[in-house]
Subunit: 178 residues, 2 copies
Amino acid sequence: AKKKDFSFSNRGKTLEDELNETNDYYLQLGLAVIHKKPVPVQIVKVEYPSRSAAVIREAYFRAPSTTDYNGVWNGRYVDFEAKETENKTSFPLKNIHDHQIHHMSQVVKHQGLAFLIIRFSSLERYFIMRFEALEIFWNRMITGGRKSISLEEIEDTAVEIMPGAFPRIDYLPVLQNL
Amino acid sequence: AKKKDFSFSNRGKTLEDELNETNDYYLQLGLAVIHKKPVPVQIVKVEYPSRSAAVIREAYFRAPSTTDYNGVWNGRYVDFEAKETENKTSFPLKNIHDHQIHHMSQVVKHQGLAFLIIRFSSLERYFIMRFEALEIFWNRMITGGRKSISLEEIEDTAVEIMPGAFPRIDYLPVLQNL
Ligand SMILES: [Mg+2]
Ligand SMILES: [Mg+2]
């Protein structure tokens, strides 16, 4: 019979779950203060029932103008986007919005650390790619080149993170060398 | 007849409006990358009408676990909360949540800049108080002392910002000396 080893699997967790756990761990241990930003919504209608909490009855998702995570580590400003793909051979750049690229480029100009965390969900492999590398592949695309980054290119230009238990996705040590 | 000079008035704008304008100005001029975080909501029900955008039909406001604004300036992590009061003689501390105090204290531990921007709306006066000063008044309250900061204490421990046109609330120069 086929057996699957779940010891290092993500057990149905999203990358966001894994990163929230990781950031909670960092916060508890006083290693960094990094939070996921709330999903931006445009609130149109709110009801105020007596004796209970306000209920939002009509709202719409807005396009985020920044990345999903930011905070402070070791005196540095840290800013990143996290993306997962089921693709086994490349990371499709359509997952990233151009305003997020613009945002990360501004962060880097102000000496912040900006990067992308990629999960290849089918492969259970995780990579951290600094913005400066991502930007090269992005520019290749907008000048007519391929619309994805091959796994081999990612292996060459990003740092692989081996998933663990506590913390799940230990990305802070990688930042030392970014 | 009584005349009011509106030349420097905020013309019905909220402090959030004024700070968003200020941050846009900083962003356009490449001076800093600071954004307001979206309001955190717990989304319960979403409808997906065909041919139109998803509509959130039930959601609730969640307590924020951080402050409202953060970003990067000059390589530094910047984090602040903004509060306005109609009070003319003091700033009531009930406007601030204890998890926000906790958050700002962690930011300072990681060498970020954490502060409070206060608008006395009736007086049209604006102050920037670094967290280290706010913490003293907060601790006075939780050890049984007064539940507000008097205007005189604010004048002594914070820096006043004179509102202008572009940018409206020019807080970056103050950070040089915080
Ligand atoms: Mg995202
Ligand atoms: Mg607030």
